[in-house]
């Protein structure tokens, strides 16, 4: 039995390491480690709660809006600050386009090279490639001339002998199954998506000054003023530009991403039987309307039982540090509710440079969150499953369409391929909904409602001496929660339980593996020197490790009490 180490896992956000044992050509055991730690929650203590969105935004520059959203929701919940409908709608649009852009970048720039062999595309016939492209979509860039130009560009690049970021990869690996024409088509769309993503994300700049890290969120609203009669505010000119970009986003998802996803998936159906994971799925409600009612439902699905969605109770969330580099008084052998935890970094791993981690003991900076003591998978698959089972109309239609096109049943979703497919479904459904929120916003403005902020509780002097609250958000990578306690107008304690903390979690006190670790079990590895298959399953989760490891709370802090959800 050989032990494989993959570190760094590339084409993700942050620093992730996998150690795996391979037996009989399959992974028999796996350990996943986050190898970077910053301690931002400690840094937050004593600061102004109205600033927290800006600080927590730096948990991650890829998920560049998500912590801002969760943070302002947490503070608004704690201080009972209302949000005007315009601000709610602008947030929905910002969340939606973040989701769209993130998923497309993931598919083409982070995940595609696990399935697409760029070098094989050099052998493709551009005429046949054009026929293939035209057979799956009416996207206009589908001529033989176009694909020939892409092929020539790649040829010139390869011919230079300097492969830059494409050097030393697993090209020619037997696990690549696409014909040359599909590889060339996907390569062309890799380049197109790179262009597209920087265009459509200008929505964040128009509504929020810039991207990454839009500087526009406010506790109690948003900072982009609305005034159709001003050149310094959101006016008709800017709204129409947002509309155009939303359309551009939707069109690419419908005509490029989804057709490519289906085309690629049809060659890799065996991956619908690999990478199942822990089988428990959880998501939070998202996209509130003016009354706060969510457009997407929250809930949990346990043991792959898609007959029902279990309502969530946040009190059932615990975090384990048995195998994480923290010391947690009172946590020996069990997990603690986030507000009972008093973790301090406690690195017990090998002194760098090291070859292997001591995976029998502590081996990661990621904690192990559990729901009812179960490891839960979060992300697009969980979101799609919960919406599907809840009868969410748009999701159900999209899921049925994809399953029908691939000729598989819903059980195929519980897999590496299912995770990747569900991300496409999630992207499509939300991209199609986003223009409706813009129409609502325009309708509000037409009625003369220009409010973007509820000012009355902005001044900290109006706040109670103590307050606490939480904010939930469905980020592209899944359920995100921020919890805050405020005392004397300052942050007393701050907690975030993040999507990749759930998914990248190490083992807990009972030895239960986290979702990545569980999903790797049984994954075939044709060549341990080139563990392409490990990347497929890990990337199917879209890891984000800067998000996952941010946590550090001080010893002896007063426990936060939050309202039951």
């Amino acid at each position: 039995m050989s032990k494989i180490v993959v570190d760094p896992i590339t084409r993700i956000e942050g620093h992730l390491r996998v150690e795996a044992e391979v037996s009989g050509g399959k992974i028999s055991n796996a350990w996943v480690s986050g190898t970077m730690f910053r301690g931002i929650e400690t840094i937050l203590k004593g600061r102004d709660p109205r600033d927290a969105w800006y600080w927590t935004q730096r948990f991650c520059g890829v998920c560049t809006t998500v912590h801002s959203i969760a943070s302002i929701r947490a503070v608004e919940d704690a201080l009972k600050i209302p949000v005007p409908p315009n601000a709610q709608l602008i947030r929905n649009i910002i969340i939606a386009i973040q989701n769209t852009q993130d998923h497309v970048i993931h598919f083409y720039h982070l995940h595609a090279l696990d399935w697409v062999d760029i070098t094989s595309g050099l052998k493709a016939d551009p005429v046949k490639t054009a026929q293939l492209a035209a057979s799956i979509s009416d996207w206009p860039n589908n001529s033989p001339t176009y694909f020939k130009s892409v092929q020539d560009r790649v040829k010139a690049f390869v011919g230079s002998g300097r492969l830059g970021p494409f050097a030393n990869a697993y090209w020619g690996h037997p696990a690549y199954k696409l014909p040359p024409e599909a590889n060339l088509m996907a390569t062309a769309h890799y380049l197109e998506a790179l262009e597209w993503q920087k265009d459509i994300i200008k929505i964040h700049a128009i509504l929020g000054s810039k991207n990454p890290h839009p500087q526009t969120f406010l506790v109690g609203g948003m900072s982009i003023p609305i005034d159709p009669d001003s050149q310094n505010a959101l006016n008709a000119d800017k709204l129409i530009e947002v509309k155009r970009l939303l359309h551009k986003a939707q069109e690419f998802v419908e005509k490029v991403y989804i057709p490519d996803l289906l085309a690629v998936a049809s060659f890799y159906k065996d991956w619908a039987g690999i990478g199942a994971g822990v089988g428990n799925y959880m998501c939070y409600p998202e996209f509130p309307d003016a009354s706060g009612k969510p457009w997407l439902p929250g809930g949990a699905i346990l043991n792959r039982d898609i007959s029902k969605v279990v309502p969530l109770d946040q009190k059932k969330i615990t975090e384990h540090v048995e195998h994480s580099w923290y010391q947690d008084a009172g946590s020996e052998g069990k997990g603690l509710h986030p507000w009972e935890g008093s973790s301090e970094p406690n690195y017990t791993g090998p002194k760098p440079p090291y070859q292997y981690l001591d995976t029998d003991k502590k081996y990661s900076w990621v904690k192990a969150p559990r729901y009812e003591e179960k490891a839960m998978e979060v992300g697009p698959l969980s979101r799609v499953l919960v919406a599907y089972v809840s009868g969410h109309k748009e999701t159900k239609a999209a899921v049925d369409l994809v399953l029908k096109k691939l000729g598989v049943g819903p059980e195929a979703l519980f897999s590496t391929l299912g995770r990747t497919g569900a991300r496409g479904i999630d992207c499509l459904v939300i991209a199609q909904q986003a223009p409706k929120w813009l129409d609502e916003l325009i309708g509000n403005i037409a009625k003369g409602d220009l409010r973007i902020h509820s000012n009355e509780l902005w001044d900290p002097a109006t706040w109670p001496a103590e307050a606490h609250g939480y904010g939930w958000h469905e980020a592209p990578r899944g359920g995100l929660g921020h919890w805050i306690k405020i005392k004397d107008q300052k942050i007393l304690n701050y907690q975030a339980v993040v999507p990749s903390t759930w998914n990248a979690s190490p083992r807990d006190a009972k030895g239960q593996a986290g979702p990545y670790e569980a999903a790797l079990l049984g994954t075939p590895v044709a060549n341990p020197e080139q563990p392409l298959e490990i990347l497929r399953t890990i990337h199917s989760f879209d890891p984000c490790l800067a998000c996952a490891v941010h946590v550090l709370d001080a010893t002896g802090r007063e426990m936060i009490r939050v309202k039951a959800s």
Binding site: E13, C60, T64, R153, F166, L194, P225, I226, A233, N455
Partner: protein, 370 residues
């Protein structure tokens, strides 16, 4: 497919020729040169010289390492203002290591990095994103089993020049904010011998990254830097002095509440906590996302993200700048400017120790230091 570098490191490769091969027209190339010329704060008449210089440059490799970062600067790179050509220029620079985009993983990825820094010692660019944790033997940041500090010494020490991109790599950024749990520092403090150009911002404006690299290629030396190690072409002027809302400041017209009449009309955000008067950055002219917008223009105060230790010295975000001598809204702009300069100097004196940057140094001068 061979992954072996076949060309000698001193090959000459015309960028315009490569661009042509990749379907970029001469017209687009000249447009790009104009953009870069503007970002470098050179007069427009310089554009032909930039174009000519780019025609003649060689292809140095670039390695991009992320330590205690959030990948925001890498994301910024993906949004750069003239992205097709910017991507190609970076591609032409041969981006041999960048964990977020590279196809290889694990030891194959590490091998790519080792090969470049060995084969091109003293000739490659290093871009560092994120701070470097110094505490407890570097255990708070490891890649491939090696500490960030070990890698930084190895990579920055042998680079022709190191670009510290973003506030974390420049000055420690958010991980270094009090109480700095991991002992995070910027690149220059972690590797004092390296030739470092700081491009702070949270994240850095990618146009400034592109312009810095082009500056090096065009003039064959790193740009002139200020006392905080920042290129003067991008950080030489205060936001307040270039701000489109400055006339409202001078006229005493302020935003008093979010969404009020003044906010909708684009009045000055000073009273809402704007740090533009104490921040040196080209945001007002360069803007973001292809010049679409920038924070003050979109109604949110500047937070001072280009300044050392802004997380501590510029916060709380919504508190107006301190009452330094001579400061008051009834004063003239010049008096306020003087007062703020004094205040800012005081606030940053603590940081002065690690900012002993040598200006306009020849590249590679101390590349062998370790």
């Amino acid at each position: 497919m061979s992954t072996t570098r076949t060309e000698p490191c001193n090959e000459t490769f015309s960028i315009s020729q490569i661009l042509k091969e990749r379907g970029v027209s001469r017209r687009d190339f000249l447009k790009f040169c104009s953009t870069v010329t503007a970002a470098l704060a050179l007069p427009p008449s310089f554009a032909p010289s930039v174009a000519q210089a780019l025609d003649e440059v060689k292809r140095p490799p670039l390695v991009w390492l992320e330590f205690q970062g959030c990948t925001g600067d890498s994301e910024a790179l993906l949004r750069s203002a003239n992205p097709t050509v910017a991507e190609i220029v970076l591609d032409i620079l041969s981006v041999d290591y960048h964990e977020t985009i590279m196809a290889a993983a694990g030891h194959q990825a590490e091998a790519a990095l080792d090969k470049t820094i060995t084969d091109y010692k003293g000739k490659y660019f290093a871009v560092i994103e994120g701070s470097i944790p110094m505490k407890d033997g570097g255990v708070y940041g490891c890649v491939g089993g090696k500490s960030n500090l070990e890698r930084a010494r190895q990579v920055c020490g042998g680079a022709a020049a190191t670009i510290a991109i973003g506030n974390c790599a420049s000055y420690g950024g958010i991980p270094a904010a009090a109480p700095n749990p991991t002992g995070a520092v910027g690149v220059k403090e972690a590797v004092p011998g390296a030739t470092v150009i700081n491009l702070p911002g949270c994240p850095c404006n990618a146009d400034n990254l592109t312009a810095t690299i082009v500056h090096y290629l065009v003039f064959n030396k790193i740009p002139a830097l200020d006392g905080h190690g920042r290129p003067l072409f991008a950080y030489g002027k205060r936001i307040h002095d270039n701000c489109e809302r400055r006339p409202h400041f001078d006229a005493g017209q302020y935003v008093e509440k979010w969404g009020d009449d003044g906010h909708r009309k684009g009045y000055c955000l000073y009273k809402m906590g704007c740090k533009g008067p104490a921040t040196f950055h080209n945001c007002p002219t360069q803007r973001y996302n292809e010049k679409t917008a920038w924070p003050i223009g979109s109604g949110h105060p500047c937070v001072g993200c280009a300044e050392p230790q802004f997380w501590d010295v510029m916060s709380p975000m919504y508190r107006r700048l301190p009452n330094v001598p001579g400061f008051g809204i009834e004063h003239t702009a010049d008096a306020i400017g003087l007062g703020l300069a004094a205040g800012a100097a005081g606030a940053f004196v603590v940081h002065g120790a690690l900012s002993a940057m040598r200006k306009d140094k020849e590249p590679g001068e101390d590349a062998k230091e370790d």
